[in-house]
């Protein structure tokens, strides 16, 4: 894990992707529900950024917004910018976005069965991606697809190309999705809970494949998950989200060893580990707030053991507490 | 302790009341459903107080002097080829037409619902046999089958309802069975079994309430076609007997006169059938949504 950091670019370099002050809401007939309040993060070239949080924290919606994939009449991109290679994707037209989607930024979803069309063979679906984005001949496309399938360690790829998604197991399908996502050699791959539906031994295979491919192609990953263990294995840096906001951001090992934000601390502490001495798990009390009754101020204050008066009133500014380590909590705010 | 219990009962009553209010509020939010309900209420009132609106005499009395007249002050909707007042026929026909449409639908829902629920819940041999019978019944042309039933039992209102119910029940059984097959696989059915709840209670308390949505939709869409089947039977003399007014029969009779340009004969019974069917559809949709607790906040 630590040797991976050596080829990480210097912090001063322009990031590959910069999301700043993103705010996304949904208009319902009753109210405007804010799913993402104010989210900012960077993804550097060749790194894996982990985004961790519970259901409804806005992690998926923030990342889908990068490609404006959250669409519909009731979606409002209220504020913020998403700079990818210096251009704002939020202000792009659909046509401009098409050129980026699947070519420079691709996605891997949680449920490979629903992301693959059951009526087409694996080969057809993979070929389609290349046909859209490159000028390769049929033969070249075929060879490239086979080569990619072998890279994700699918044996006898030529045969698999002719199969339909339902012929494959869950782990195989997810590896096909990964192969598809990396076909066009994208700069950034957004992986939304890619291993949540898989078994642990299959998850280990898939994570392994993803790491190897990153080494080979040098792409960046945004890895969205609720599983702290997976984040800890995969990510170089981690963003912790709660209630549509970023509460802490740090390098992985720093975050897990010295968490600052009470939410991050609670999350890490509540995870059972081998050789645990206590009889009961330390818990974060209360429930995850739903979109329509989000508390004012810091969304975590209703569950926070260290809540103060100011927490109920306003959301704290981000404060730097260490090298590349920021936290948004009144406890550490500079008075 | 007493006080606590009273407190509890009060809270429960409040919750019930709030629940009913919420259901009504949800229903009212659906403007189309409210519109449908208004029309339906008008139709039902007309059927109930038909005699007060226009005497039954007008609907059957023939008057050769005013044959095939268009709408006028004396005859609001005009007259038919025997000189009978169309308005009076519509008003008095509403009784039979609504009874036929709604009665057969209710009967089919209850019978089809129970058989479908049993088939879906128990499966096995019972299911296989019932499904084959349904296939056979559905293969026979509906009108022909109803004709046979009416011919065997005699042509009157009750037999007509029986005949139409028999032909429509198989499609209900199929729809309800497929809905129920998906419900019985839900974990809450297993949980109810673990709680020691008997099978028939599970069907009544868990399975059928959750199958209500699709059943209501199917039923409200079927009312109109029931009326039309009844009309078809009346047309060939196997349904409601002339001169008893009935919308479907009126529609069929109007077909000869239509070619001569007497469109009003077709228009008014047609609109009456369409409006009543539409209103039931709208009310059905509204009910389905209002009764679904998941949509309440």
């Amino acid at each position: 894990m630590s040797e991976k950091k050596t080829d990480m670019p210097a912090a001063g370099q322009e990031p590959l992707l910069r999301v700043s002050h993103l705010r996304v809401s949904f208009q319902t007939d009753k109210a405007l529900l804010c799913a993402v309040e104010d989210v900012s993060f960077d993804v550097r070239k060749g790194e894996t950024l982990g985004i961790v949080g519970e259901s409804g924290c806005g992690k998926s919606i923030s990342c889908m917004s990068i490609l404006k994939l959250v669409q519909g009449e009731n979606v409002r991109y209220e504020n913020g910018a998403v700079l990818f290679e210096g251009e704002d994707t939020l202000s792009m037209t659909d046509k401009q976005l098409q050129k980026i989607r699947g070519r420079k930024i691709s996605m891997i979803f949680q449920e490979p069965m629903t992301a693959l069309n059951p009526l087409y063979t694996i080969g057809d679906q993979m070929g389609e991606v290349l046909k859209l984005h490159t000028k390769l001949s049929k033969k070249e496309i075929w060879d490239r697809c086979c080569e990619m399938l072998e890279k994700v360690r699918i044996p006898n790829s030529r045969e698999i190309m002719l199969r339909y998604p339902f012929n494959l197991s869950g782990g195989m399908r997810q590896r096909v999705m990964i192969a598809m996502a990396l076909l066009t050699n994208p700069e950034l791959v957004i992986a939304d809970e890619p291993t949540t539906a898989l078994d642990v031994t299959i998850q280990a295979q898939v994570l392994d494949v993803m790491k190897d491919l990153q080494k080979e192609y040098g792409c960046s990953y945004i890895f969205i998950t609720h599983d702290l263990g997976v984040i800890s294995e995969m990510a170089d840096r981690v963003v912790v989200m709660y209630g549509g906001r970023v509460c802490e951001c740090a390098a992985t090992d720093t975050l897990f060893e010295h968490p600052y934000h009470p939410y991050t601390r609670g999350l890490i502490a509540s995870r059972p580990y081998r050789g645990m001495k206590t009889d009961r798990l330390p818990v974060i009390p209360g429930n995850v707030p739903s979109l329509n009754n989000k508390p004012a101020g810091c969304p975590f204050h209703t569950r926070c053991p260290d809540a103060m008066d100011c927490c109920r009133e306003a959301f704290p500014e981000e404060t730097a507490v260490g090298e590349g380590h920021t936290v948004a909590c009144w406890k550490y705010a500079k008075k | 302790m007493k006080h606590l219990q009273r407190e509890h009962a009060r809270r429960k009553r409040d919750m019930r009341r709030e629940h009913a209010r919420e259901t009504w509020r949800l229903f009212c939010k659906n403007k189309a459903a409210l519109f449908g309900l208004a029309i339906l209420v008008i139709f039902v009132l007309v059927a109930l107080f038909a005699d007060l609106i226009v005497p039954y005499e007008n609907a059957i009395a023939q008057d050769a002097s005013v044959r095939l007249d268009g709408p006028s002050a004396a005859h609001l909707f005009g007259t038919d080829k025997y000189g009978r007042d169309v308005f009076a026929q519509i008003v008095h026909g509403s009784r039979r037409s609504l009874t036929l449409g709604i009665g057969t639908t209710l009967l089919s829902v209850v019978i089809g619902g129970l058989i479908g629920a049993l088939c879906g819940f128990y499966g096995g041999k019972l299911d296989a046999i019932v499904m084959r019978i349904c296939d056979i019944v559905m293969c026979i042309p509906a009108l022909l089958f109803a004709l046979a039933v009416v011919a065997a039992l005699g042509a009157d209102m009750i037999n007509l309802i029986i005949a139409i119910t028999i032909i429509s029940v198989p499609s209900y059984i199929r729809v309800i069975r497929s809905v129920i097959l998906s419900i019985v696989e839900q974990d809450y059915i297993y949980a109810a079994r673990l709680c020691g709840t008997s099978n028939w209670k599970i069907i009544l308390h868990h399975v059928l309430p959750n199958a209500m949505g699709p059943i209501i939709v199917q039923a409200s869409m079927n009312v109109a076609s029931m009326m039309l089947t009844a009309a078809g039977l009346s047309f060939i003399g196997m349904g409601v007997q002339q001169p008893t007014p009935e919308w479907g029969a009126m529609l069929n009779e109007a077909r000869d006169s239509m070619l001569d340009g007497h469109l009003h004969l077709l228009l008014f019974p047609g609109v009456a059938i369409a409006l009543s069917a539409l209103s039931l559809n709208l009310v059905g949709d509204g009910l389905r949504d209002a009764l679904d607790p998941r949509l309440k906040s």
Binding site: T201, D253, I284 | L194
Partner: protein
């Protein structure tokens, strides 16, 4: 010792129907000869990957699916041999909490109706008021507020729903509860709350759990004994300490090593054993050891002969040809 539940050679085969007359053309052996027992007041963790038959085993034990073969003894009585009314009484004492707190609660019922269902069906209370008191008591015990009793379940979050499910399971005064992935669908911060609740209840009421899960961290926290299942068979059984510190079966080793490392220390100590390939198709099982196809230590004998279930000392059982492992 006091065995509350004993399962002997339990089998559950699902027929695959095919052909014009719906004949049985093949069988999926979801549970194929599983035996274990649970002492009163203990927690047995049943781990394995999806499709290994762990959930099916739980459902068959509770009678939600009929068994194909084997015996289930509850509190010393064979469930298949007692009278109908006795069986009903024994079934009352066995309950279950399901994985998905959304599909396991009837959306058309309020909380009070859901929790009281078992009380009413088994006639555990006489009057309406008693039932309501009992519901309130159960709700409080499970961390819910009695004033929520007449709300519908869609108004609750996943964690609260799972609390309702637990309250429902407790309503019939059970001794034994099958927890089928009971915390897997919950958020991380809620998982810990529910696990603590389950532990509290176990100690205060003296419950016995069969804890079915794929999450090894949680299993090792909550279980006293652990059984590892692979393709319908238990391949290893022992105390939590034995299984997690000294795994004998190569599949258990692989399973443990697949758990993502968390701290820097764990990452450093870890040696990964990544299994090749996927689970074999349940239609045609290998004739020898079922794990042979993916096992890094396989030998010729593994593909030919089925390994036997042997004691490796101190009640630590394992089914593998390699004696020293």
């Amino acid at each position: 010792m006091d065995k509350l539940l004993e399962v002997k050679d339990l089998k559950k085969y699902f027929p695959i129907k095919g052909g014009f007359f719906g004949r049985t053309v093949a069988e999926v052996k979801a549970v194929d000869g599983v035996s274990f027992s649970i002492q009163r007041g203990r927690v047995l963790g049943l781990v394995g990957e999806s499709g290994c038959g762990k959930s099916t085993a739980g459902r068959v034990i509770l009678g939600l699916n009929p068994k194909t073969g084997g015996e289930i003894l509850f509190d010393g009585e064979n469930l298949a041999q007692v009278s109908k009314s006795r069986q009903r009484e024994l079934r009352r004492r066995m309950q279950m909490v399901f994985q998905d707190p959304f599909s396991s609660l009837d959306p058309r019922m309020n909380v009070s109706e859901i929790i009281s269902e078992g009380i009413v069906a088994y006639k555990l209370c006489d009057t309406r008021a008693e039932i309501e008191d009992r519901v309130n008591e159960l709700m409080e015990k499970c961390g819910l507020f009695p004033e929520q009793a007449y709300r519908y379940v869609h108004q609750f979050s996943g964690g609260q729903r799972q609390r309702i499910c637990i309250a429902r399971a407790l309503a019939t005064n059970p001794d034994f509860i099958v927890l089928d992935e009971a915390v897997s669908a919950l958020d991380v911060s809620i998982q810990a709350q529910i696990i603590n609740l389950l532990k509290d209840l176990q100690e205060s009421i003296g419950l016995t759990y069969l804890f079915i899960s794929h999450d090894l961290n949680i299993v090792q926290f909550i279980s006293d004994e652990v059984a590892v299942m692979y393709l319908g068979e238990i391949v290893e059984y022992g105390t939590t300490e034995q299984i997690f510190s000294n795994p004998r079966h190569p599949y258990t080793v692989a399973l443990l090593s697949a758990v993502p490392a968390f701290t820097r220390e764990e990452k450093a100590n870890k040696h990964r054993m990544i299994l090749e390939g996927d689970l074999p198709s349940p239609y045609d099982m290998p004739k020898g050891c079922r794990f042979a196809g993916r096992c890094p230590y396989r030998e010729a004998v593994c593909e030919e002969e089925k390994p036997v279930w042997t004691d490796r000392g101190d009640g630590h059982y394992c089914m593998c040809h390699r004696p020293q492992l």
